[in-house]
Symmetry: C2
Subunit: 250 residues, 2 copies
DNA sequence: CGAGCGGCTTGATGCAGGTCAAGGACACCG
DNA sequence: CGGTGTCCTTGACCTGCATCAAGCCGCTCG
């Protein structure tokens, strides 16, 4: 259950919507607030957005949308994780990116591109907020500042894609994997040994990095024999972060 | 009236609005009108945008901006062509895309990403319109509809990138090249032989397709021996478009 | 004019990573 | 319990493309 400081919020919500759904609306508002896109919105505007939203629960493996479908809006992650991918002609999935809270995705479909350019399925039990398209467009017209956030969010995705694009061509896995491992480490720059759990299965991770699971497995094995990391199932410990950094730097 | 820092520039702008340079402004307006982003703008708004713009001429090989530089705005192609690329760690360039009129690019830098995420150089003598960032942001606030166009433009770039991403991993050159050739053909669906000139050197084309010029050369040679196309220098004739389509379909 | 250079082609060779196949660890289920 | 599933690992092999190298053409420029 999501806790919310009520009071002023509740009052506004009551007046905004008819009250029956207000607790759900408040919960949605709270989640939206986490997203950087809505972080700086006034409570009133946030409520207005929330009113045009609905919640969707997904089981593991359930698909949220398919490539080519007409879009109903865009999405803000509330819990779990969602994989965005396309199918190669021979039917295998090419993962484009994986989203988790508090990221948002499919903003593209707000504009001229009306249909989803890729597929989305939940990697685990997840909840997403569906932001209604036409409501949101109306709001943008009244609240131009919002569109700058929108642009910001999209440009981050775009930059990320550009990065992936060049990574996949220009750097080999050991570099990309080393990079990824270092970015997972919570402590960041700290030189001390850091440990964490893989947030996804190795198969999915392989997909994210653009290789097969076999190749990922081999590369992890190599890192292990070189004494850079220790791997036990989903548990990873970084032993020699300078060594990893040397790989990642390339 | 919006203030500009440089005194000389301020003077120019003043005289622009008062008529001396108005022909330049009119020319800019006309070019902007070509771009789909500005196509539906009212004449007054268009003039307002044009006023915040300047023109920049580039020689072949001249760089427009470099990765990491702070951005001054975004660009609309007026003539020529500009290549966007990043440098791999070992110093070779990885082309991300090539723009020609009436496309616009570097819109990303309008939002949170303040510095260019890649490099841009002219592939031939070119002219671009520089759209001043802060002025344009002001305009968005007054004219929210504009931001939807902005979002549209960016989402097209984004979709294009997603396509490239999956192409590079999932399809081999012959498929990508076949695809590209068919998209060049002006007549489109017509089954009759179509001919055209390569808009860029084969080396650059290879870069766009994500391979080396040697590989492109070999692939073209194969298509030639298979009787799909005829190539003479920059002149290409599509002989067997169904055959090409069969390749591209994969 | 010849030298040099950039673009293009073609051949020989190497390698990263994909594919196929087999097997182990673990979970769930009738 | 054994059966069937997913996930992961490891080995043997294959292949698309990069790389290196050599040579041809057409150009610009000293």
């Amino acid at each position: 259950m999501i806790k919310i400081k009520s009071g002023a919020y509740d009052g506004k919500m009551q007046s905004a919507s008819s009250g029956l759904n207000s607790s759900r609306q408040v919960a949605i508002s709270a989640s939206l607030r986490q997203s950087r896109m809505f972080a700086s919105l006034s409570p009133g505007d946030l409520a207005a957005v929330a009113e045009g939203c609905s919640l969707r629960s997904l089981q593991k493996g359930e698909t949220l949308f398919r490539e080519g479908e007409k879009s109903e809006g865009f999405y803000v992650m509330q819990s779990g994780s969602v994989s965005i991918f396309r199918l190669t002609p021979d039917g295998r999935e090419q993962i484009i990116c994986v989203f988790r809270p508090p990221e948002s995705f499919a903003e593209v479909t707000l504009a001229t591109v009306e249909s989803y350019p890729a597929n989305a399925v939940a990697l685990e039990p997840s909840q997403v907020i569906v932001v209604n398209k036409s409501r949101f467009r109306d709001l943008i017209r009244r609240q131009p500042e919002l569109s700058l956030h929108m642009l910001g969010s999209m440009s981050i995705h775009l930059k990320h894609l550009v990065q992936s694009l060049q990574d996949i061509k220009g750097r080999q896995i050991e570099h990309r994997l080393a990079d990824w491992l270092l970015h997972q480490a919570p402590g960041g720059a700290a030189g001390c040994p850091v440990a964490f759990e893989l947030p996804v299965t190795k198969k999915v991770l392989a997909g994210q990095l653009g290789v097969t699971s076999e190749t990922l497995s081999r590369t992890l094995a190599r890192f292990r024999t070189e004494g850079l990391i220790i791997v036990e199932g989903a548990h990873v410990q970084i032993v020699d972060s300078p060594g990893l950094r040397a790989y990642a730097a390339l």
